[in-house]
Subunit: 322 residues, 5 copies
């Protein structure tokens, strides 16, 4: 589906176009065309492939659900694939945007994702000074928008992690469910890692020493994106590390809690076994058991039982067995 | 066993050949020969070694079961070894294909694997434009076919992993068997890692800055294979990481489950010990035990036992000990 | 808020300035201006951005809370962001200082941190020989001051770790609380890692082979900072490794301690079960039980009980079951 | 001890020599000398050091038991140290061979190892075409022989590991001994790692871009050795990873097995406690216990005990507690 | 404290000097001065800083206790800091030696360590051929001496580790104390790692492609030191890996041992519970219990108890529950 298609000259929009009229504008000097597609049909993509002379391998990647973000050079043009991560029902939904950028065109193909890039276009049109940089700047603006959307998602994961951590050491927590939460959290984190890490590598080529001509004037901007990606990557690493520790500590805390319970049950069992033993002794049928004849024998035996248990109870308390 | 042998000129098949007639075609300009062998005898390989002037070290690797994929340059020609992984009875069967590619020939030697490459030849013959690139393109087409066959195998592993994960947190799972499944899964994953990881390194040399002349016109295609391999590698890494966590979490869940059972048994034992103790007391043979004479002494004692156990039962329930 | 603003010529302060008068001094040869801001308003920053022609991306980073230290070149000028870590209530409070350094100015912007850099300015002014190196040296002096403040913080963590370690193997420790302490310690360590590690990378570019012109005369000093950062990083790594081992050993010691208790309770239970069994036997109501008629039957049975328990007690002691 | 010493010209052995006559042959053009020593005395080595002008540091390494394989250049000559690993009594015995190779000599010094290199010399002499490459080829042949001997040793470890793995999940295994086996296996693996890993690095310099002149004609052969070493290294890594997982899984399986036993014992104890409690109740001495007078009271009480236990037994079975 | 100070010419000592007379000798061609200090005062260092024109940053590092070994170039001169590790009371005491080496001087400053370098000086003076290489060789000799002292210390750790390992699998070991030993061992290993690892990096610059002029003639010697450091590093890594495995295996063995004990106690408890139950049954007070009247009832009941327990005892034995 065509979202929008416009021609720009000298930082200003000059026309909204039909796809048929793109070639006219591509021929004009300093003019470039910016096309945005959304879940396009094969026919739409084939049309634009012919118009912009896109490489078949890149078009194939833009069509098929590709699993790995990347930024590739095809001659003078650049081809980027980025993941669009959208939280939905406690899971992360992963869509994609493929961006083709040449000297006089930018084509973005969004697949399988809700939120579009109209806001990026609007902001670019508000700043002619920057838009004048041409397709290289638009490529930056789109990538920057995608990367900026990663931040709140990682913050979401951090908040969840904080919540789980708080309950690990809670005196009366329900830490068992935590393991499942942490396990799920780790898998969503993996989705983010797969969106960020390969991109980091790709972007570094657009901001380093040998920059493709298309990005020549905008390499400082790409360095900024690179810096954002590094922050994201570092945060993701931090979370991963903390999740691993939290899983293992949580498991241990649950085990300790169960052991604690076992210990207390065993201690109580011992408290019951003492009177049982004494009662057993005075339940024996020997003919000559003088205590049995004592008037206060029974009371005394009960007193001894109680005294022993009270003594043990406090000893157990002191030894933290109860 | 010779699978097929044909000569190509300008992207078109010009003849099916006997091995004897290969030298004629090798001499013709722009013509190249594509030979496919399957579990060849030493004699067949020696023949072709002479015809194509193959390096003895490479021929040796093509014959012996080699354990590590690789891509090597021998002067102007390239030699590739790839693993063919075929699932069979819950195990992975590993065969190999060795590919020799020179300026005017391609020789593929498949060992110890069922599925051949007839479909690759057919597809190449349908696209003369691409076939015109010569042996470099055929080398790509064969490698690409091998690599594409890795995807469903990794998906198989991912599906199995998902199934196991689902039962880790199932309330009434049989998680003990999971450990064995995960252990087996990890070993099959290792087979895939050993097929993919060394190839990644080898292919990077065919798509980077300094490409061998044979692949000069096809380096974008090899970059595409490289990209596929990176996706495979990333997926394999993901699975490996998840398997490790799943093993450890699963082990802990089993331990917790056993502890849970122990705890409940201990709690029930305590419930039995209380009446036993009381019964013991009234089983004592003291002469002066007034309760024994009470008319409702027995009933009362039973009531006390029941009351205590009911009280404890609910306390244990509330404390999650039962 | 403007902290101070002064012009320097030939290693000597020549004037305290208003922001308005900075341009005058920037024009004078060999003269440079050093401005220090503290939690500045957007307006203050915009003013100075115009005066020093700062890059908008850098200014944006100086304003927003940035999460990752870095050192970047913008043409001939340098832009550095560093973390200011201040311990507070057992947590680490993270502020930032952003430093802009050009050929004739240095601007430091401190955000969200208590302790300023007046002492750095004072020390620099006392050593005209060094101050003569210009903005590059001041950049060094500021970074050096920040890095030097990291040492006592890491020592704090080391001391805490030592304290916890001492109690892991203490015969009557309370090692359970240790896990929580170690967990918290690890998170504060993470804060330090995030302050140090990215800076290490940044500084290496100021002390290596290809130094920016601004730092040409001071690269030995930056190498010194680099060396300090490596020490910090190594210490942090050490602590991280030790914390991980300590957590796992501590968890195991707690488990062992609980198991120990269980074992002792079980052994005591066995000691009680022996007399209970014997008493049970002599509590049977068979008509023909000769022992029951013995005059010393009762005493003998008690003696047997005691003897068995004393024997078991010492055996258990010897086997370390008690 | 001198093992053998011969001069070669144009790929053919021309003479067996005494050490004294070596200098004559060194002077002849295209002629080279191949000397093999075995646990030499200091005097023997000193003699040959003078004859071949060996570097004192290299000679020192050849004499002393050196702990790390390496390949070093001394001017135009090469010096290699390799580990000879020989299995003996379930342990690995580590000897060494040091090889000095110059433009017209090869000297191999075997220390502390049983198996020599006579077979290498014999095979070389059978292939004059290859021997004509000179000392560089002999260096290759010796290294290749050493490396080829590593394969069966690693296979040994793999077989042992397979045997242990089979018993981890065996329903009635003795998995406790496994831990000790795996621990020992890991240490022998370490020995192999220390033989292979440093060599990998050393050989890469003989097969890469900048090859020493001595190996100029044989770099494809060294690449082949490098490939073998990579396979060994990969296998070793695999084993290491599997051993680590196997240890941890095995430990857990033992723990689970013990827990299982505890659980069953606890369940059986519960089965015994039920009749004990009932018997206790009817052992009480209350005067008014109507059941005691019933004619079938005793039989009924036994029936109730049996019924309860049978009921519990099947419930426990169903809950997998027994 | 000045340890010694001498001038050397052409590999021979020409004079023992006072510090005042050093400048005379520095001016003579081919002559160099070798000064050794031990825990010097600030004044002594300042004197020599002026004499040799040492860089203030280096002098500062030589004075303060520096925490990280390093080798740095200051113009044409080199500055090295090395750790001196001395075992004392089961701990490692870490001192330092700082070495300044220029074209005509060597200054070593030993801090906080007992053992000096008189033996190095003596050995150098015995070998004029080597001493003729000048300050570069002395730098090597000092570093080599420090590195050689690391070997026995690591061997100490290896021996301790072997001792602990032997007791992990001992049938009647006291493996609990092992954990503490291993933990302590790991921390001392850390001290060695911090001495060796940073040095490895530093030395590699003195033996590689681009060697500082000072070490031009001695780079083979520095390669030898580098090789020693690699061996040390590899050994340290091995120990570290083994310690980690040993800690975890040891913990598990202790847990298993405790579980084993618990299991046996539970099994014995079951053996006691069987007669207790039977005795309980015959202790019931039913009027009609025919067995009670049997003449051999009592004997029979005892026989049944014994028979059941003997039967269970052997079953438990066979099932390894006892």
């Amino acid at each position: 589906m065509l979202v929008s298609c416009a021609a720009y000259l000298d930082g200003q929009k000059v026309a909204d176009l039909d796809i048929d009229r793109i070639p006219d504008y591509l021929r004009r000097p300093n003019c470039f065309v910016w096309v945005a597609l959304h879940d396009p049909t094969a026919a739409e993509l084939t049309d634009l492939q012919r118009v912009f002379a896109l490489h078949p391998l890149a078009v194939e990647d833009a069509q098929a659900g590709h699993e790995r973000p990347k930024i590739e050079e095809y001659g003078d043009s650049l081809f980027a694939v980025l993941h669009l991560v959208e939280p939905a029902d406690g899971e992360f939904h992963v869509g994609e945007v493929a961006i083709f950028a040449g000297s006089n065109y930018v084509l973005s193909v969004r697949n399988n994702a809700q939120k579009g890039f109209q806001d990026v276009r609007a902001r670019c049109e508000r700043e002619p000074d920057l838009l004048r940089h041409g397709p290289g700047f638009i490529l930056y603006a789109l990538i920057d928008a995608v990367v900026d959307r990663y931040f709140p998602i990682l913050e979401l994961l951090e908040d969840e992690l904080d919540a789980v951590e708080a309950s690990i050491f809670a005196p009366k927590g329900v830490p068992r469910e935590n393991i499942e939460s942490l396990y799920a959290l780790k898998q969503r984190l993996m989705v983010m890692k797969h969106a960020v890490a390969p991109l980091l590598e790709g972007i570094s080529n657009l901001s380093g020493a040998r920059v493709p001509p298309l990005c020549a004037g905008t390499s400082l901007y790409f360095r900024d994106v690179y810096d954002h990606l590094q922050r994201l990557n570092q945060t993701a690493e931090s979370i991963r590390d903390t999740v691993a520790t939290a899983i293992s500590v949580n498991l241990s805390m649950v085990t300790l809690q169960e052991n604690e319970t076992m210990k207390r049950l065993a201690a109580y069992a011992a408290l019951l076994a003492v009177p049982t033993m004494i009662a057993g002794i005075y339940g024996m049928n020997f003919e000559h058991m003088p205590e049995l004849k004592w008037h206060y024998g029974y009371a005394l035996s009960l007193a001894v039982m109680a005294a022993l248990d009270i003594f043990l109870f406090f000893r157990f308390k002191r030894a933290r067995w109860l």
